[in-house]
C-alpha cells in the first residue's frame, strides 16, 4: 500500500506534523516524569541543547551563504553583547548584509 502524494496539502500537512511534534514535546515531559529519572547527565545534556541547536543550524548556513552573511551575523552578535536588544541586533545585522550586498559582496 502506498500513500497518495501530499500534493496540494503538503504545506498544511507539514504544519500539522509540526503541531503534533510540538504538542508531544509539551506533554511528554509531564507524562514521563514518573518513569524516567532525570540523572545529572540527562539534565546537563538538555541544558546544553538549545545552544547546540543554534550552532548546528547557523554554522552550515554561514558556510552556504558566504562571508557577507558571516559579517552580518557577527555584527548582530556584537550588538547583542553591547546592548542586549534583539530589535537592535536585527537592525544592525540587516543593515550590514544590505550594505555589503549593495557594495557587491
Amino acid at each position: 500500500m502506498t500513500l497518495p502524494d501530499p500534493g496540494a496539502w503538503g504545506a498544511i500537512l507539514a504544519i500539522a506534523a509540526m503541531t503534533v511534534a510540538t504538542y508531544l514535546c509539551r506533554i511528554s515531559g509531564v507524562v514521563l516524569m514518573g518513569f524516567i529519572p532525570l540523572t545529572p547527565h540527562v539534565r546537563r545534556g538538555l541544558a546544553a541543547l538549545p545552544g547546540c541547536i543554534i550552532a548546528a543550524t547557523v554554522l552550515p548556513l554561514i558556510e552556504r551563504l558566504g562571508p557577507a552573511a558571516a559579517v552580518a551575523l557577527l555584527a548582530a552578535i556584537g550588538s547583542m553583547v553591547l546592548r542586549r536588544n534583539e530589535l537592535l541586533a536585527l537592525v544592525v545585522g540587516m543593515s550590514a548584509i544590505a550594505g555589503l550586498r549593495a557594495l557587491g559582496f
Partner: protein
C-alpha cells in the same frame, strides 16, 4: 475550580498576563520576523497564521522556514516533524520540572493548557511557584496572552514582508540566522559551557557537507548535547 488544593482563578490568569507583558516587545519582533520570513518563503497568510496558532513555538517555526520547500514528500514532512521535536526537546525537561504542580489538576485540563506552554510561561510559572504561588491560572493566563500577541504580530509581519519585492536585497533572508546568532548571547554561560556548541557546529558543518537534507541539525545538536551530558562539570 478554585478549591484550595488546586486553584485556578480568573484573577490568576490576569496576573499571568501582566507578568508576561514585559516580554511582549521581544515577542512582537520575533513574530514579525517569522511572519516576514514566512512570506519570503511563499507561505500564504492562512498557512503562516495557522502555524503560529497551532505550533506556537518561535524557534521551531523559524527553523521550519529555513527548511521550507514548495513541494512536500512524506519523507520531508516526517523530517520536519523530527527537527521540530529536536528543537522543542527542551520543553520535555521544562514540563517535567513543573509536573508536581500539575499533578493536582485533572488530566484533561493539563492536556489542554499544555498546548499553550512556552519558554515564557515556564519561566513565569517556575518563579511564581518558587514564591509559593499555586494558582494554575497564572501559567494559563501568561500562555494565552502571549498566544494572542504572537498570532497578531505574525499576521502583521506576513503583511509587511509581502510588500518587499526582493527580500534578499534588504537582508530579509537573513532574519532567521541573525536572530539565531543573537540568541547565543543570552544563552552564554562562559567558555566551558560553550564547548558543546562548538562540537555541535563542527559536526553539523561536516554532516551538511556529507549528507543532503537537514539531518545536520539533529546530528550536530545531539552530538553537542552528548558532549554536554558527559563532560566533567566539576571545574
Amino acid at each position: 475550580m478554585g478549591k484550595a488544593a488546586a486553584p485556578m482563578t480568573g484573577a490568576g490568569m490576569l496576573l499571568g498576563a501582566r507578568k508576561v507583558a514585559v516580554l511582549m516587545p521581544g515577542v512582537v519582533v520575533f513574530a514579525v520576523a517569522f511572519g516576514a520570513a514566512a512570506a519570503g518563503k511563499g507561505l500564504s497568510l492562512f498557512e503562516t497564521a495557522l502555524m503560529s496558532a497551532t505550533v506556537y513555538a518561535g524557534v521551531a517555526q523559524l527553523v521550519a522556514m529555513e527548511l521550507w520547500r514548495p513541494e512536500w514528500s512524506w519523507g520531508a514532512i516526517a523530517g520536519l516533524a523530527v527537527v521540530t521535536a529536536t528543537v522543542n526537546a527542551r520543553m520535555v525537561l521544562q514540563g517535567a520540572s513543573l509536573q508536581p504542580w500539575f499533578a493536582a489538576y485533572p488530566k484533561t485540563l493539563n492536556a489542554a493548557h499544555l498546548f499553550l506552554f512556552t519558554d515564557a510561561s515556564w519561566v513565569i510559572g517556575t518563579r511564581y511557584r518558587a514564591e509559593g504561588g499555586r494558582d494554575l491560572g497564572v501559567l494559563i493566563g501568561s500562555g494565552l496572552a502571549l498566544w494572542v500577541v504572537w498570532l497578531i504580530a505574525t499576521v502583521a509581519g506576513h503583511l509587511a514582508g509581502a510588500l518587499v519585492s526582493d527580500p534578499r536585497r534588504y537582508g530579509l533572508d537573513l532574519v532567521m540566522p541573525i536572530f539565531f546568532a543573537a540568541m547565543i548571547v543570552p544563552l552564554w554561560r562562559g567558555r566551558r559551557a560553550a564547548l558543546p556548541w562548538v562540537v555541535a557546529g563542527l559536526v553539523a558543518l561536516v554532516t551538511a557537507k556529507l549528507f543532503e537534507g537537514y539531518a545536520f541539525i539533529i546530528v550536530g545538536a545531539l552530538s553537542g548535547a552528548l558532549v554536554g551530558a558527559f563532560r566533567d562539570d566539576a571545574a
